[in-house]
Amino acid sequence: MDVLRCRGLRKEFGGQVVLDGLDLTVAEHHVVALIGASGSGKSTLLRCVNLLEELHDGTIELDGDEISAPGVDPDKVRRRIGMVFQSYNLFPHLSVLDNVTLAPRRVHRRSRTEAEAHARELLDRMGLGAKADAFPDRLSGGQQQRVAIVRALANSPRLLLLDEVTSALDPELVGEVLTMIRDLKAEGLTMVLATHEMSFARDVADQVCFLDGGRVIEAGPPEQVLGEPTHPRTRQFLARIIEAGRL
């Protein structure tokens, strides 16, 4: 069964076409890695799927419901999709626990005790139990990003979108975040992640999509897309990555 189905997505910013008829399908329990140069549309795609950006054409289906249809309440859609950002975006005035319980309490109307018990359980499982009462500015970048992932998970999303979640981290902190994502895959969570970590994409993804000029121009199992790319643009991109020593 497909969790996400995007057809012919188009998005422009001030006349510049960022998504140009993009198609993407994500099956349940699958992890899809989006790769491609900066400006290829990876982040815009994720933001469009979460209805944070207005579409200029195309349709998006979540579990078979068309969420891009007119009259759909975007707030209700976003409850079913988790999103994690490159710069963590934790709420600085709230403790870790309050960051995690905000949506369960306000959106899902859980009681404080219930939401906090669930949040503490999640934080414990992710090795962040000791940080529950700390404020975000007391945490390392890696810890902040892991809290941001827990915050998204507290909504029990059908689909988790990860937008270059390790790009802002020091190299020695990248590992802890990637380990966490690997654990989530083992639990069967459906994820779409935009990443520059090619070795991680190869390791964790069921499917790798290479984006260029606002379209998916090559998609397939990681061994194929990263190992034996057929499209010249993919080869060129990977050659540059290898040159930079990142694969």
């Binding site: 933001r47 979460n50 944070l52 975007p74 707030d75 209700k76 976003r78 409850r79 999709i81 988790g82 999103m83 950002f85 710069s87 975006n89 934790l90 709420f91 600085p92 005035h93 905000l102 949506a103 306000r106 959106v107 500015d137 941001a148 915050r151 998204a152 909504n155």
Partner: protein
């Protein structure tokens, strides 16, 4: 400070001794220069040819003692008015700032009204608002017209909420869009995002300028005296008219400063905390 258990190296001991000497020296210099300036000022004022006259007309202890109860009674009015007007103006200002952030075509009239409000009441001199409300409004002879004091308070609230709304709006706009994206991505509605994510950060950030406006309001509440109620300055004016001596004004002035000190101290502390948080985060 270094701990007692740790034995300092000679280099560090020399540094500590040097720093201590420097501190002593700067304290001494500050004390000497303050004393010199103070003496100069005192000599210049008390040595002036008209000093005796000025001392009698502005600094008469007996008249100060006599005027104090009346000025204090007036000041009590200032304090009560300040508390009520500050609370009302902060709430109204916040409401207007939030109304200006509403999106969607339905809210256009509300947005336009809120924007117009801040334009009109920031542009209009307070005294004119006061006169229109306290002298004009009762002239309508409507039933249930509140007292002049309440109308005067309303004029202050209208004017100050215009300023405060803009301060709040600056705070709201200073919250980074990524915070909104994060809140909306969790499924929070626009209203919940405002209430739980944007406003708490915005208000904290603009607390110092807000308090600064309240300090200014503290002095302007006295303007209701233009419409009749007797505040501290008006009480001093009456006392002055009876004695042909300006000492009551000095009494009122000193009381106003004393009243402002706690508020200013709070403002400074809040500013400091905000600055520290910003540099720390």
């Amino acid at each position: 400070m270094s701990t007692s258990a740790h034995l300092l190296s000679p280099a560090q001991r020399a540094r500590v001794a040097y720093r201590r000497r420097q501190t002593m020296l700067s304290v001494l210099i500050a004390a000497a220069s303050t004393a010199a300036v103070g003496t100069l000022l005192a000599v210049a004022v008390t040595g002036a040819p008209g000093w005796e006259r000025v001392r009698q007309t502005f600094l008469d202890p007996q008249i100060a003692r006599d005027a104090l109860p009346r000025v204090l009674t007036g000041l009590w009015l200032n304090v009560r008015l300040l508390v009520c007007c500050a609370v009302a103006a902060l709430l109204l200002g916040l409401l207007i700032a939030v109304l200006r952030t509403l999106r969607g075509p339905v809210f256009f009239p509300i947005r336009a009204l809120a924007a117009g409000y801040t334009y009109v009441f920031r542009g209009l001199p307070l005294i004119i608002v006061l006169y229109v409300l306290t002298l004009g409004a009762p002239g309508l002879r409507l039933q249930g017209m509140p007292s002049v004091l309440v109308l005067g308070g309303a004029a202050l609230v209208l004017t100050y909420s215009g300023y405060l709304a803009e301060v709040f709006r600056a705070g709201i706009e200073s919250v980074h869009p990524s915070q909104l994206a994060a809140a909306r991505s969790l499924g929070l509605t626009h209203r919940q995002t405002m209430r739980h994510v944007v406003l708490p950060q915005a208000v904290r950030r603009v607390a110092p300028p807000l308090l600064n406006d309240i300090v200014a309001l503290q002095k302007d509440v006295g303007l209701v005296a233009l419409a009749g109620p007797i505040d501290a300055v008006r009480a001093a004016q009456i006392a002055t008219a009876q004695t042909f001596n300006y000492t009551p004004y000095i009494v009122a002035g000193v009381l106003f400063v004393l009243l402002a000190i706690p508020l200013i101290a709070v403002t400074d502390r809040v500013t400091l905390r905000a600055a520290r948080r910003q540099s720390g985060g």
